[in-house]
C-alpha cells in the first residue's frame, strides 16, 4: 500500500498527488512512468512520473479525470492509500548534450513535459516551452514552466489566456523567425503530437514524442501497447515511451487508443451518476 502525502487540484479536472513509493523514487527518471491500481478490483493504469524526491522516497503524479479509474483515484485524499504502485517503467527520456530545444506540451501532457524541460534546463540547454490548453481555467504549471525555460508561450483554443490558436501555429512562427531548434519534444494528445511531427518534418527538425497507449503489465509481457514505428512493431513500455515522431504511425495509434472507449464511457456514466446522487443526497 502506498500513502498519498499530498493532493492538490491544478485545475477542475487535473490533480497532482505526491505518493510515498521509495522503491520507485530511488531510480525514477524523467520520461518514465508508473502503473498503479487504485484498489483491489482496480485496473492497472499507466501514469507518467511528474516528479520525484529520492531522499524522501516520494513520487509525484499528475492525472486528468478521464475514466472510472482516474475518478476513483481522484476520490482518494491525503493520508489514504493506493493499492499498488509499480515502477519506474519505460526508458528514460534522452536529454543529454542538447543545445536548443522546443518543449511542446498539450493539456495534461504538460505534466509529463515539465520534468523533461526542467532536466534540460538544469543541464544547460536553452528551453522554449510552448504549451496549449482549451481555455484559461485549464492552464496548469505555468510558474514551473516559466522557471524552467528561456521562453514560455501559452496558447489557448479560445484565446482566454495567452495567444489564441494551436501550439503548431506558435511553433511554426518560432521556426520561421529563425529559432534553430536542435530538437523538438512534443507531449500531449495524439492528434497534437501527430501535427507537431508533421510540421517539424517539413523543417527537418528531429522530434521526440511520448506515447501513452493502453497497456496492462507495463513490463513487455502483454504487447497491448504496441505501435508501429518506422514500419516496425515496438512496445511502448519496453522500447519507449519516447519515439521518433517522424516515424510513428499516429493514425494507427489513434485508432488503437479507442479500443475500450464504449466500455469506458459506460463506466464513467455509472460513476458520475453515483457521484451526483451522493452530492444531491
Amino acid at each position: 500500500m502506498y500513502r498519498i502525502l499530498k493532493k492538490e487540484a491544478l485545475n477542475p479536472t487535473v490533480t497532482r498527488m505526491v505518493v510515498e513509493a521509495p522503491l520507485v523514487a530511488r531510480r525514477a527518471q524523467p520520461g518514465q512512468f508508473i502503473i498503479l491500481r487504485v484498489d483491489e478490483k482496480g485496473e492497472r493504469i499507466p501514469l507518467t512520473i511528474a516528479g520525484y524526491d529520492r531522499e524522501k522516497g516520494t513520487v509525484t503524479i499528475i492525472f486528468q479525470l478521464v475514466g472510472a479509474s482516474t475518478m476513483a483515484l481522484g476520490r482518494l485524499e491525503e493520508g489514504d492509500f493506493i493499492q499498488d504502485f509499480a515502477g519506474p517503467l519505460g526508458t528514460p527520456s534522452h536529454t543529454q548534450g542538447l543545445g536548443k530545444v522546443a518543449v511542446v506540451g498539450g493539456g495534461v501532457g504538460c505534466a509529463i513535459a515539465l520534468p523533461i524541460a526542467q532536466k534540460l534546463h538544469q543541464e544547460g540547454a536553452e528551453v522554449h516551452a510552448i504549451v496549449g490548453f482549451r481555455s484559461k481555467e485549464l492552464v496548469i504549471l505555468e510558474e514551473e514552466f516559466r522557471a524552467a525555460s528561456q521562453k514560455y508561450i501559452l496558447m489557448t483554443d479560445d484565446g482566454s489566456a495567452g495567444e489564441k490558436g494551436l501550439v503548431t501555429t506558435a511553433l511554426e512562427a518560432l521556426i520561421q523567425g529563425g529559432e534553430g531548434y536542435q530538437q523538438v519534444i512534443a507531449i500531449g494528445p495524439l492528434v497534437m503530437m501527430k501535427f507537431v511531427s508533421a510540421l517539424t518534418k517539413k523543417y527537418s527538425i528531429p522530434t521526440v514524442v511520448s506515447m501513452n497507449p493502453l497497456m496492462v503489465d507495463g513490463t513487455g509481457m502483454c504487447g497491448g501497447c504496441r505501435l508501429t514505428v518506422g514500419g516496425k512493431v515496438k512496445f511502448a513500455c519496453v522500447d519507449g515511451p519516447d519515439f521518433d515522431g517522424h516515424q510513428v504511425d499516429f493514425d494507427e495509434a489513434i485508432a488503437r487508443s479507442s479500443a475500450y472507449r464504449s466500455q469506458e464511457g459506460r463506466a464513467r456514466e455509472e460513476h458520475c451518476n453515483l457521484f451526483q446522487k451522493e452530492v444531491s443526497g
Partner: protein, 468 residues
C-alpha cells in the same frame, strides 16, 4: 497394504458437463472422492526400479505416496509429495503427466497408466481441506544466508521453497501486483483455481519466504544491487514478450497477444462483474497457435460468450503441441479446429476493428529439423475466417529488461539466459531457470529448474563456507 486394483483403465475423473462449463469459469475437473483416489492409487504395482520417478522433473517418490494414498492415509501421501514438490496442488492439475511420470508407468503398457496426477491433486486438496498445517520447519535464523528470487512463477516459487526448507532467508521480488506468475496471469481459473495458487504461496510464506510485489527487476532494482544485499540471486523471470506474426492488420483493434487476453481475463478478472479492467466480449474469435496457451485462450473466449471460437493451426492434429486432455476438453466444449491453415492477413472495418482472418491453406511436406512434417502453402488456396477477435498464441521471446541491465550476464543469440544444467549463469552468485533460460516450456520443467538451482545455491554456499 490395501489390495491391488488390476483394472486396466484409470478411474474416470468427474468433470463438469461440457454444455455447462463452456459458459462458466469454474474448474472443469471436479476431483476424485477419497474412495476413487485410494482405488486409483491401488493400481500401482510398486516396481522396484520406480521408472515413474525418473519421469518426474522434481523426483517425487511416486510409489511411496501412492502406497499411503491406497491406504487412505492422505496426510501421509501429502508429506511424501511435499518433500519433493513445493506446489503439489498445482502440479496435480497442470503437469503433462502423460509425457512424464505416467509415460513411464508399467501399467501403461497393457492399459492405462496409474492416474498419478489425479491422486496427487486429491492428496494436496485433502490436506488443505483438513485445515491443519503441515509441520513447519524452524524459520531461518539471523545468520541464515539471504537469497533473492526474481519472479514468483513456478521456477521462483519452487526455488524459494527448496531454499527456505534448507534454512535460507528468501525474498521473492514480483513485478506484478499478485504473486504466482503464469499460474495467475496465464493459466485460467477453470484449469487452476486461483485460491489454490494463493494457498500454495501462503504455505511458502509460512516457511518464512517474503514476497515483495510491484518490484520490477531490471527497472525498480538491478541484480547488482541485489548482490550487495543477498548472497545469491535466482532469476525466474519467465517467458517474456509475446511474438506476433508480422502480417498486415495485426495492430487492428480486436487483435490480442494471448498474454494480453489471458492477463485481462485471469489476473485482472475482466470476466467478473465489478472488475474495472475491460476486455472485448468476442462474437467470433480466432486463436492462432496449437499449444496449451492457445487452448486456454480459446476456452476463455468461449466462456466470455463467443458464438464461435476456432483454433487456427498450420500443421495437422498430430503435430498439435497442446496436451491431449486440453485438446479433448476444448473439442467437447465446441471449439472448432481449423488445421492446416496459416494466417496471412487480418482484414479490418472502417473503424479499425478486425473483421476476418485470411488464411493460406497448407499441406504437410518433408520433415523439418524438429522431425515434424513441414507445412507448405497450397498455391492459390485461401480461406476467409470471420473474426472480430484474433488472439496470437504463437510463443514469446525473452524479456530484455533484466539482461540489458545486468552487465556480464551472458545470453543465447535468441536472448535466453545462458545457464548450465544446475542453473549457474556466467555471473558468480547469479542463477537462472525456467522459461527465461529454456524459452516457453511447462510449469513442471520450470519447477524442476528452480529446485535444481536451489540445490546449486546450497552447494555453492557450503563450498564458500568450507573455503572461508
Amino acid at each position: 497394504m490395501a489390495g491391488r486394483n488390476m483394472e486396466p483403465k484409470k478411474n474416470p475423473m468427474p468433470v463438469q458437463p461440457p454444455e455447462e462449463r463452456r459458459r462458466n469459469f469454474s474448474e472443469v475437473a471436479l476431483g476424485y472422492t477419497p474412495e476413487q483416489a485410494a482405488s486409483e492409487a491401488a493400481r500401482c504395482l510398486h516396481c522396484k526400479n520406480k521408472p515413474c520417478v525418473e519421469g518426474c522433473p522434481v523426483r517425487i517418490d511416486i510409489p511411496a505416496f501412492l502406497e499411503r494414498a491406497a491406504e487412505q492415509d492422505f496426510s501421509g501421501a501429502f508429506q511424501v509429495l511435499s518433500q519433493a514438490s513445493s506446489l503439489p496442488a498445482v502440479c496435480g492439475r497442470v503437469c503433462p503427466q502423460e509425457t512424464q511420470c505416467e509415460a513411464r508407468c508399467v501399467r501403461g503398457i497393457k492399459g492405462e497408466p496409474v492416474g498419478i496426477g489425479r491422486v496427487e491433486r486429491f492428496a494436496a486438496d485433502w490436506q488443505a481441506a483438513q485445515g491443519e498445517k503441515s509441520p513447519v520447519p524452524p524459520r531461518a535464523g539471523e545468520k541464515a544466508p539471504k537469497i533473492a528470487v526474481i519472479g514468483s512463477g513456478p521456477a521462483g516459487l519452487s526455488c524459494a521453497g527448496e531454499l527456505a526448507k534448507n534454512g535460507c532467508a528468501v525474498t521473492i521480488y514480483e513485478a506484478l501486483h499478485t504473486p504466482g506468475g503464469v499460474l495467475v496471469y496465464g493459466i485460467p481459473e477453470f484449469r487452476l483455481p486461483k485460491d489454490i495458487v494463493r494457498r500454495e504461496i501462503e504455505a511458502l510464506e509460512e516457511l518464512g519466504v517474503t514476497v515483495v510485489t510491484n518490484a520490477v527487476a531490471g527497472r525498480s532494482l538491478t541484480i547488482d544491487e541485489l548482490l550487495e544485499e543477498y548472497q545469491a540471486v535466482f532469476i525466474g523471470s519467465g517467458a517474456g514478450l509475446p511474438r506476433f506474426m508480422n502480417i498486415p492488420g495485426e495492430n487492428l483493434k480486436g487483435v490480442y497477444s494471448a498474454n494480453e487476453f489471458l492477463t485481462r481475463v485471469n489476473l485482472m478478472k475482466a470476466y467478473e462483474e465489478g472488475s474495472s479492467t475491460p476486455v472485448q466480449r468476442p462474437r467470433r474469435a480466432v486463436v492462432v497457435g496449437g499449444g496449451n496457451v492457445a487452448m486456454d485462450a480459446a476456452r476463455c473466449a468461449l466462456r466470455l460468450g463467443a458464438e464461435e471460437v476456432s483454433i487456427v493451426y498450420r500443421r495437422s492434429m498430430e503435430e498439435l503441441p497442446a496436451r491431449a486432455e486440453e485438446v479433448e476438453h476444448a473439442q467437447e466444449e465446441g471449439i472448432v479446429f481449423r488445421l492446416l491453415h496459416n494466417p496471412v492477413e487480418i482484414a479490418g472495418d472502417e473503424n479499425g476493428w478486425a473483421v476476418s482472418v485470411k488464411c493460406a491453406q497448407m499441406e504437410l511436406g518433408e520433415p523439418d529439423p524438429s522431425g515434424r512434417r513441414r507445412p507448405v502453402e497450397i498455391p492459390g488456396a485461401f480461406a476467409e475466417v470471420p473474426a472480430d477477435c484474433v488472439i496470437m498464441a504463437i510463443g514469446t521471446s525473452p524479456n530484455p529488461l533484466l539482461t540489458r541491465s545486468t552487465p556480464g550476464l551472458e545470453t543465447q543469440r535468441w536472448g535466453g539466459i545462458v545457464a548450465d544444467e544446475m542453473g549457474r549463469t556466467s555471473r558468480k552468485g547469479v542463477y537462472a531457470g525456467g522459461d527465461a533460460v529454456t524459452g516457453a516450456a511447462t510449469v513442471i520443467l520450470a519447477m524442476g529448474a528452480g529446485k535444481t538451482a536451489a540445490q546449486a545455491i546450497l552447494e555453492d554456499l557450503e563450498g564458500a563456507r568450507n573455503e572461508g
